[in-house]
C-alpha cells in the first residue's frame, strides 16, 4: 500500500491549485482515500510527467484493489464461529434483531456473512475502516482466535 509521500514524490509539486486542493501533498492524501481522482491533476497529463503518471496509475491500481479486498479471510483458519459477524458494530446497528442477537445475519448486503462454513466478505463499503469518516476498527480481527482475518495494510 503506497504512502502519501510516495504519491507526492511523483506529482508535479507545483501547488498550482487546479485540482481544487491548496497543495500537492493534500492532493496526494485525497488520492489515497479516494476523494480525488488522478485526472483532476491537469499538469500530470502533459508529456513532461508521462513517466510519473504511469507509475502513479500502477500505484493507485493497488489501492483500488485493496479497497475491494481490504479485509482478507484465510479460509483455512476459519471455523465459521461467526464471532466476527456478531461483534461487528455496523452489523449490530443495522441488524439488531438478528446478527446483534447472535442469529444468522438478515441484512441484504452485510460486511461479512458465513457462507458454506466460512466467513465471506460481502460488502466492505459499509466497514468503518474505509471511506471518508474511517476509524481504526479492529473488532472482527480481535475476536477471531485463529487469526483468520487480517487487513490488507498488514498482509
Amino acid at each position: 500500500m503506497p504512502s502519501p509521500m510516495e504519491i507526492y514524490k511523483l506529482l508535479p509539486k507545483t501547488n498550482c491549485g487546479k485540482c481544487g486542493e491548496k497543495t500537492c501533498m493534500s492532493f496526494a492524501f485525497k488520492l489515497l482515500n479516494g476523494e480525488k481522482r488522478l485526472e483532476e491533476c491537469e499538469p500530470l497529463f502533459s508529456p513532461k510527467f508521462e513517466v510519473s503518471r504511469k507509475k502513479l496509475e500502477e500505484m493507485l491500481a493497488i489501492v483500488e484493489k485493496a479497497k475491494e479486498t481490504g479485509l482478507i479471510v484465510n479460509e483455512d483458519l476459519c471455523t465459521g464461529c461467526a464471532n466476527c459477524v456478531v461483534s461487528c458494530p455496523v452489523h449490530v446497528e443495522k441488524d439488531p434483531y438478528n446478527a446483534a442477537m447472535g442469529r444468522g445475519i438478515e441484512m441484504e448486503e452485510p460486511i461479512l456473512r458465513i457462507e458454506n462454513g466460512v466467513v465471506r466478505v460481502i460488502n466492505l463499503s459499509l466497514c468503518r475502516r474505509y471511506g471518508k469518516e474511517r476509524t481504526l476498527c479492529v473488532i472482527c480481527r480481535e475476536n477471531c482466535p485463529t487469526d483468520a482475518i487480517s487487513f490488507v495494510e498488514e498482509a
Binding site: D76, L77, T79, T146
Partner: protein, 104 residues
C-alpha cells in the same frame, strides 16, 4: 537443526480435543513451541507418539494452542488408536521424530 535430535525420545503430555481444522484422513498433531524446540521439529515434520504398544505418526504443526501441554491431537481415528479407557482425553506418551505421517 542438529541431526542427533532424530535419536531423541521424550515423555510428553497429550491432550485429545475436537479440532475441526486439523481432523481428517491424515494424522495431524499440534505441538507446543517448547517441545518443538526441544525435539527439533518444524511445521510439516513427522513425529511418532507411542503409548504402550501402540504407535501413530503425526504431521506436526507448531501451534500456540498446544501451549500448556506438549501435544494436542484432534479427536478422531488417530486419537482413538492411541487413547485408552482410563482417560481418553489426557494421557502421557513417548514422542520421537519419524518419517511420514499415518493416513487412513
Amino acid at each position: 537443526m542438529f541431526e542427533f535430535t532424530k535419536l531423541m525420545k521424550f515423555d510428553v503430555r497429550v491432550v485429545v480435543a475436537e479440532d475441526i481444522l486439523h481432523e481428517g484422513d491424515k494424522a495431524k498433531a499440534l505441538c507446543s513451541r517448547e517441545l518443538a524446540e526441544k525435539l527439533g521439529v518444524r511445521n510439516g515434520d513427522s513425529i511418532r507418539l507411542t503409548r504402550g504398544d501402540v504407535s501413530v505418526c503425526f504431521e506436526a504443526e507448531v501451534s500456540e494452542f498446544a501451549e500448556g501441554v506438549d501435544i494436542v491431537i484432534p479427536s478422531g481415528y488417530f486419537a482413538a488408536r492411541l487413547a485408552g479407557l482410563e482417560n481418553p482425553k489426557r494421557f502421557e506418551a513417548e514422542v520421537e521424530k519419524c518419517d511420514g505421517a499415518d493416513s487412513i
